[in-house]
């Protein structure tokens, strides 16, 4: 009687479900979109090959310029506000007594997610809404560009500082004690202690937090879609919103796919450059 081999015979069958799901629903659509970006396609008749014409059109499209600018505001703004303030709150609170209680106000907004967050802020920011009434001004916060993007960035900040704080606190609490104590004995304190001892020690964690925020902010969609749908006109669109509107509102499937490809290339390139800088 022959025994079954130790490791079994059916091994490929066990990875098959994972591979098939990923191949059929993630890889195949990815390749198909790359192909569609080189076609003219309305979703009904079959795609017509036009080569790189969509990309040539992208370069001269004023709407794309606007959404690129807005996306850059989102990226830069995310680094300064949610990430920067998260770091500030973490550094101020991580080693004082009752620090966790000081962080509660920042954690509360994290309960709301993308669409829910935008939904509850809409009556605050809308013209004639709560913010207008309480501040006694008549500014339409979501009308003018780029002020509307900045207003949404503040909403985003309100929600995101908590989670960044949490990540930074975990990092700060896990840095080794000895170098910090040694620097203290040498008389370092306050800003100098932070700048020259603590900051370098927490760099690996900062790299992760900034990297995640970078990729997420390049793909900003939910909050903009719910609060302004990229408007008024097209002045608050981000690249992800432009992709969605070109495709599913204007039925320009080929052109929308080209925007998706561009977004992917930009995200990939930014991640690559960022990672290379971090690893070096």
């Amino acid at each position: 009687m022959t025994r079954a081999p130790m490791l079994g015979r059916f091994r490929h069958g066990y990875v098959a479900p994972a591979v098939l799901l990923v191949a059929a629903l993630l890889y195949a659509p990815f390749v198909w979109t790359a192909y569609l970006s080189l076609t003219r396609y309305d979703g009904l008749s079959s795609p017509e090959w036009i080569g790189p014409a969509n990309f040539a059109e992208l370069l001269g499209d004023p709407a794309l310029l606007t959404s690129t600018r807005n996306t850059l505001i989102w990226v830069a703004g995310t680094m300064i506000l949610p990430v920067g303030l998260g770091l500030l709150v973490a550094v101020l609170s991580y080693d004082i007594r009752g620090g966790a209680w000081f962080r509660v106000p920042f954690m509360l907004p994290y309960a709301l997610s993308g669409a829910g967050l935008a939904l509850v802020w809409s009556p605050v920011l809308s013209h004639g809404g709560i913010a207008n009434a309480l501040l006694g001004v008549d500014t339409a916060f979501l009308q003018e560009a780029p002020a509307n993007t900045l207003a949404m960035l503040l909403v985003w900040t309100w929600q995101q500082v908590g989670v960044n704080t949490l990540l930074f606190v975990v990092g700060l609490q896990s840095i080794p004690r000895e170098p910090v104590e040694a620097a203290r004995l040498d008389g370092a304190s306050g800003w100098r202690l932070f700048r020259h001892v603590i900051w370098p020690l927490m760099r690996p964690l900062t790299a992760v937090v900034v990297g995640l925020a970078l990729v997420a902010s390049l793909k900003t969609f939910d909050i903009v879609w719910v609060l302004t749908q990229g408007g008024p006109g097209r002045n608050s669109e981000t690249l992800a919103v432009t992709m969605y509107k070109e495709t599913f509102v204007a039925s320009e499937y080929g052109y929308g796919s080209a925007v998706a490809v561009m977004l992917t290339v930009v995200t990939g390139l930014a991640s690559y450059l960022y990672l290379r800088r971090q690893v070096r």
């Binding site: 079994g8 907004p109 829910g116 709560i130 009434a133 719910v226 969605y244 998706a260």
Partner: protein
């Protein structure tokens, strides 16, 4: 002292909007006035407001569908991903690392790269606007993370566990199901929670692949409610809907916080 002062001031700035939202979501729909948004509500109407939202926007059907997606898809995703991780690490699949990279590579694509083919393909296959279609895409999106965490988890386990079970005559699948899956509960839970949250909060797949209230996920339905906030749905009703629909992920996270931290740290070995 300066540190505490800065923290308290910033904290108050953060609490302001939170207070406004809660107070105005709890106010009876008829007594809302932007100019008196600070005033405490006379009577608590949070759940009455939410009930109105359930009725007028058919949120109940959306919530039921979303609960189904955010439980079933992560469960399937976690088991499929764990099985792949087990096969690659414990069963030492040939070219295992390449298979792993193939599966994990699925996380790299922005969802915008998937939408058009999914929309067209789903329409052709009769999956557009069906619950089965939604479960399928959410499962696929969840597989790579599960495979990643569980592969790491299993590579930290002693091979002798497997050998002993094998000597006793158990099949490889039975060993996975009865030994490896139960041992990795904490890692599985951590991945499940992350994926539950992802599915519950999804907007874009719901926007692209669904149409009717019964299939439409809740965040997509909320986004649709939005235009109504301007067009006559009372503000307290919209606020209550936004708050209450966000609760499940918070409750799940708070209830499992410790398990969550432990699961992820085990997974990162």
């Amino acid at each position: 002292m300066i540190r505490r002062t800065v923290l308290v001031v910033l904290g108050l700035v953060w609490l302001g909007p939170a207070y406004l939202l809660i107070v105005n979501a709890s106010r009876p729909a008829t007594s809302y006035d932007p100019g008196r948004a600070w005033a405490p509500p006379g009577e608590l109407a949070l759940f009455a407001n939410f009930a109105t939202a359930l009725e007028s926007a058919d949120l109940g059907a959306s919530l039921a569908g979303t609960l189904l997606y955010s439980v079933v898809s992560p469960l399937l995703g976690v088991v499929v991903g764990a099985l792949a991780g087990y096969t690659i690490v414990v069963l030492r699949l040939r070219h295992g690392f390449r298979w792993f990279l193939l599966i994990f590579g699925g996380t790299v694509f922005p969802s915008q790269m998937l939408l058009v083919p999914l929309f067209v393909g789903y329409s052709d296959a009769g999956l557009y606007d069906t619950r089965a279609g939604m479960i399928l895409i959410y499962t696929a999106v969840n597989v790579p993370l599960a495979a990643f965490v569980l592969r790491n988890f299993y590579s930290g386990m002693a091979f002798s566990i497997f050998e002993a079970a094998r000597m006793d005559g158990a099949s490889t699948f039975r060993i996975f199901w009865r030994v490896y899956l139960p041992i990795s509960t904490s890692a599985l839970m951590a991945v499940f929670i992350l994926e539950f949250t992802f599915v519950w909060n999804d907007l874009i797949f719901g926007l692209t692949l669904t149409q009717t209230a019964a299939v439409r996920p809740v965040m997509t339905a909320l986004a649709g409610l939005m235009t109504d906030v301007y067009a006559g749905t009372p503000v307290p009703v919209g606020l209550a809907a936004g708050l209450v629909c966000s609760l499940p992920t918070v409750v799940l996270f708070l209830a499992t916080q410790r398990l969550f931290a432990r699961g992820l740290s085990l997974g990162s070995v």
